[in-house]
């Protein structure tokens, strides 16, 4: 009986079978090839986190020179498209009609107060029905007014206490184009879908269809069984990653400043925990429905919400920040962004790769424990 030891032949037979099953299942193509393209287009074109020109109204109730100067400052700002009226009422109507997002009211005695050195406050009314944009627009409007006041004070200059000039400069993504951030994130989402969601079904399917029982009664080893599930999905995920990267660079002009080997290293390191988690879920639940739900909740959603892909981790509440530590994708996103936008910064990439590999080892170990050759529970 030559059934001891790990057999490469049996493994290859199992990998071949798994590959045929993948090739025959249309839903695999959907997730591996169609979905990445869709996601990339979504993040490339439809979702845009940049602030564009906001429509605002300026109610100019004063005829003094300073009041006109402030109104002009709004008009010249690249952030605003301005409509000027001599009273508040028409602007109120315009806001109700959803034509403008905010109203800046320059009061009647603005010029007089300005001359006295104590200008009355400028009122900024924002449309609260879209709270995010309201606060953003209001903040920009207030910032612009403060800038204008400082410039006037500097020009008048009786007390030339030089105002501190804040000059912000953004590196690596000078245009702050959100697409550059989002597309590497989309690649992480795609690898999570293939790595965890698809694999969460594969062992459960064998249990549900009764093939697991028949396979366990052959000399096949459980390590061969697991390896046969890992290899094809690993390759599939890398192919999908390749499609995404090509599209990102060619179609969306995202720079790839790092090297291909670095990209492969980062992806491989992430696929270990992703595949391990999916297979562990599959082996432990033995039920495709439960497995897919678990994979969505424990892997896909955290990758979406807690990986720093859409929401910055540093601006999350402290407890949530701690939770993000156990989301493997949290280490992938900065690594991918680094490889794409900065280059092969090994001091940043290597620690992340090490952490992801450690997660991978843990999940694969749990998975191996969960697939024993036994029908006892």
């Amino acid at each position: 009986m030559s059934e001891a030891g790990f057999s490469g032949r049996r493994l290859m037979a199992m990998v071949g079978k798994e590959t045929r099953q993948i090739a025959r299942d249309p839903s695999t193509y959907l997730i591996a090839f169609v979905l990445p393209v869709l996601l990339l287009f979504l993040f490339g074109y439809a979702i845009n986190l940049d602030s564009a020109r906001a429509n605002i109204g300026v109610a100019l109730l004063d005829d003094s020179a300073p009041a006109h100067s402030l109104a002009l400052a709004y008009g010249q700002s690249p952030h605003f498209a301005v409509r000027v009226e001599r009273s508040v009422e028409p602007l109120r109507q315009a806001m109700i009609a959803d034509e403008i997002r905010a109203i800046v009211v320059i009061p009647q005695d603005f010029g007089a107060g300005e001359a006295r050195g104590a200008p009355p406050p400028v009122q900024i009314i924002a449309d609260g029905s879209q709270p995010n944009q309201a606060s953003l627009t209001a903040a920009y409007a207030e910032g612009l007014r403060r800038n204008w006041a400082m410039n006037r004070a500097a020009e008048a200059g009786p007390t030339p206490a030089a105002p501190i000039s804040v000059n912000s400069r953004v590196w690596f993504n000078p245009g702050l184009t959100s697409r550059y951030f989002l597309i590497p994130g989309a690649i992480a989402i795609v690898m999570t879908l293939i790595g965890t969601l698809l694999t969460s079904l594969v062992i459960a399917r064998e249990w549900e269809r009764g093939t697991m029982e028949a396979m366990m009664a052959t000399p096949m080893r459980m390590t061969e069984f697991l390896a046969s599930k890992i290899v094809p999905y690993f390759v599939l995920a890398l192919i999908s990653m390749g499609i995404c990267t090509t599209m990102a660079v060619v179609q969306f002009g995202v720079p790839l400043r790092g090297s291909i080997p670095a990209l492969l290293l980062v992806s491989t390191a992430y696929l270990l925990p992703a595949l391990g988690q999916g297979l562990w879920i599959s082996a432990a639940t033995k039920n495709q429905f439960v497995a897919s739900q678990l994979a969505l909740i424990t892997s896909f959603l955290p990758t979406f919400l807690l990986s720093g892909f859409l929401y910055e981790i540093s601006s999350m509440p402290r407890p949530i920040q701690i939770i993000t530590m156990i989301v493997p994708a949290r280490y992938l996103i900065p690594s991918l962004q680094t490889v794409f936008l900065a280059g092969d910064v090994w001091s940043l990439i290597l620690p992340n790769v090490a952490i992801m590999a450690a997660f991978g080892a843990f999940f694969l170990y749990r998975c191996l424990r969960a697939t024993r050759r036994s029908l006892d529970r």
């Binding site: 032949r9 049996r10 290859m12 199992m14 079978k17 093939t211 028949a214 366990m216 052959t218 029908l375």
Partner: protein
């Protein structure tokens, strides 16, 4: 025991949440070159025993040696076919064979010959590139067997290879396995069919985890030899006679066989035999089994005792006129016609996938016929389907109970579903609880109960509203013979009260209870008549003397196949 390929001594296996062990001290041995039967109703522990022998489960107690070692150590010499065959349905026939060949390290050289031999043996050569999922049940079963045989094993474990497959495929499979024993393979054949047990070299008969009998089947049959009689030419209605006989203390067991009544008598029995012919007939394995279990139930059905007398509202309880159902280009049932008077049982017989379930579903209003009409208790199913459905009680093959509801909740639900409310519903539930002695069970979840109890509760749920028409879909497949007797005593009692019963079955023993039957094969009615008429026709077709219902079934199907081949050739 020396020389055996597997021997098991006193194994015990408990599962969490069940009150009795699945296996309670089972002992058996499998000899090379023999077919050993592991026989018993569903839930007896057959699958658990096989899984333990395959090394897929560990017993709580007991000892076993499989292929000279602990189970699971010599997997290369073990062939195992689980109940669901273990086929990859999205792979082709040949790809499945290749996969199993690799798993069992079959050398590349000579593999083509092995596959050719197996495909010829199973008659699957024509389908080598068809997906396994697209094969019929019987072909899947043969492919499953071929996969278990890619490398000739020394021990072959077959878990209910005959279940859900028509009698013809079952016979073919049996012949194939019998050939294998000639090569010295030890075969364990698990089955719930007692007629298969009779053909085994050695049988281990199980009931509720315990061994009831072990040895050559003839030894068990011999225990009741000479005590089995057939009554014919009696003046009473046959159901009345059977009921009276079963109520006697000197009658161990009894069944209907067409127009005759077959009885197993206790020692020193003295049954009244005026006005009838009594003939001694050979005993069967099942008779011995029932005797070992202490005999069958009595004949009088307490359910029938409290059931209302059904007053016919129309000439026929059920009428099917040219019922046809097409699914796209496929005709599932073609021009099926029959009538069922009140107070009779009508059987729709046929292999799986022949079209009997389609016909059945059209008659209970679950499918709309493409052509033809169905009438139940005077209501046309097309025009007043809801009114027709109120007149029928339906019991499905899988006993459609809600497993995570208690028995009481299930009954309350079905009472509501059949339109009973308030005190009427309460009274109906109360009535069936008493009749079926469900008092102790009411608080338990349905999925914790044994198959026999589930079956009883499913019948209770179907008759809550005392319908004049009952539809039964494979009502007793897999249950033990005592429970089956009890079930049919209820049905016989209801029929005496005027209820009309439509039953679908591929289980030929159930067919014997029918007053009239039709045999559906490849969507067509190929034969109709009483069980006795079908058997007589079969005797003419096949030349068999005194054919059983199963022989009749096979003879009709073979005749139909031959006629079709002739037409196609012409």
């Amino acid at each position: 025991m020396s020389g055996s390929v597997a021997s098991v001594t006193g194994i015990v296996k408990h599962f969490k949440g069940l009150d009795r062990p699945a296996l309670d001290g089972l002992s058996l041995r499998i000899m090379p070159g023999r077919i050993t039967g592991l026989v018993g109703p569903d839930g007896a522990g057959k699958t658990t025993a096989i899984r333990i022998m395959a090394g897929l489960m560990a017993p709580d107690a007991g000892e076993l040696t499989v292929l000279g070692g602990a189970p699971g150590t010599s997997l290369g010499d073990l062939g195992y076919m689980p109940q669901r065959f273990g086929l990859y349905e999205d792979l082709s026939v040949i790809a499945n064979l290749e996969l199993y060949a690799e798993m069992r390290s079959l050398p590349k050289s000579g593999r083509a010959e092995t596959f050719a031999r197996l495909l010829a043996f199973t008659d699957l050569e024509r389908f080598r590139s068809r997906l396994a999922g697209k094969l019929s049940g019987g072909m899947k079963q043969k492919l499953g067997l071929a996969c278990a045989l890619v490398k000739t094993p020394r021990l072959l474990l077959l878990d209910e290879p005959g279940v859900g497959v028509d009698p013809i495929s079952r016979r073919e499979l049996w012949q194939m396995v019998a050939q294998l024993t000639g090569e010295g393979i030890g075969v364990l054949w698990a089955t719930a069919y007692l007629d298969e047990a009779e053909k085994c070299d050695e049988v281990f008969l199980m009931s509720e985890g315990k061994l009831v009998f072990g040895g050559p089947p003839a030894d068990l049959t011999r225990e009741v030899d000479g005590k089995v009689v057939r009554l014919t030419d009696f003046p009473q209605r046959r159901r009345r006679l059977l009921t009276d006989m079963l109520d006697r203390h000197d009658v161990l067991d009894g069944t209907l066989e067409g127009r005759s009544v077959r009885l197993v008598l206790r020692d020193g029995a003295a049954i009244p035999t005026e006005n009838m012919r009594v003939a001694k007939v050979p005993a069967r394995f099942e008779d011995g089994f029932i005797a070992r279990l202490g005999g069958g139930p009595g004949g009088t059905s307490p359910l029938a005792g409290v059931y209302r007398q059904v007053e016919p509202q129309s000439e026929f309880a059920i009428e099917a006129k040219g019922l046809t159902k097409r699914f796209g280009a496929f005709t599932a049932a073609n021009d099926v016609s029959f009538t069922v008077p009140y107070g009779t049982i009508y059987g729709l017989l046929g292999p799986n996938g022949a079209g009997k379930s389609t016909t059945f579903k059209m008659l209970c209003g679950l499918l709309t016929p493409s052509e033809g009409t169905g009438v139940v208790a005077g209501h046309d199913l097309r025009r007043s389907g809801a009114a027709a459905r109120e007149q029928l009680g339906y019991m499905a093959q899988k006993f459609s109970l809600y497993g995570d509801l208690t028995v009481a909740q299930n009954l309350a639900f079905f009472a509501g579903a059949y339109g009973l409310a308030g005190s009427a519903a309460k009274a109906a539930v109360q009535r069936v609880t008493e009749v079926f002695e469900l008092g102790d069970m009411l608080g338990r979840n349905a999925n914790q109960l044994s198959l026999g109890f589930k079956q009883r509760i499913a019948l209770a749920a179907a008759v809550l509203h005392e319908p004049p028409v009952l539809f039964l879909d494979e009502p007793t497949s897999g249950v033990d013979p005592v429970t089956r007797r009890e079930f049919w005593s209820h049905i016989n009692g209801l029929v005496e009260k005027g209820v009309a019963v439509l039953v679908t079955t591929h289980f030929m023993e159930e067919a014997e209870y029918c007053d009239d039957t039709t045999l559906i094969y490849r969507s067509e009615q190929i034969a109709s008549g009483t069980p006795d008429e079908l058997k007589r026709q079969a005797a003419e077709l096949s030349g068999l003397e005194d054919p059983t219902m199963e022989d009749a079934f096979i003879a009709h199907i073979e005749a139909s196949d031959a006629a079709r081949l002739e037409r196609e050739a012409a």
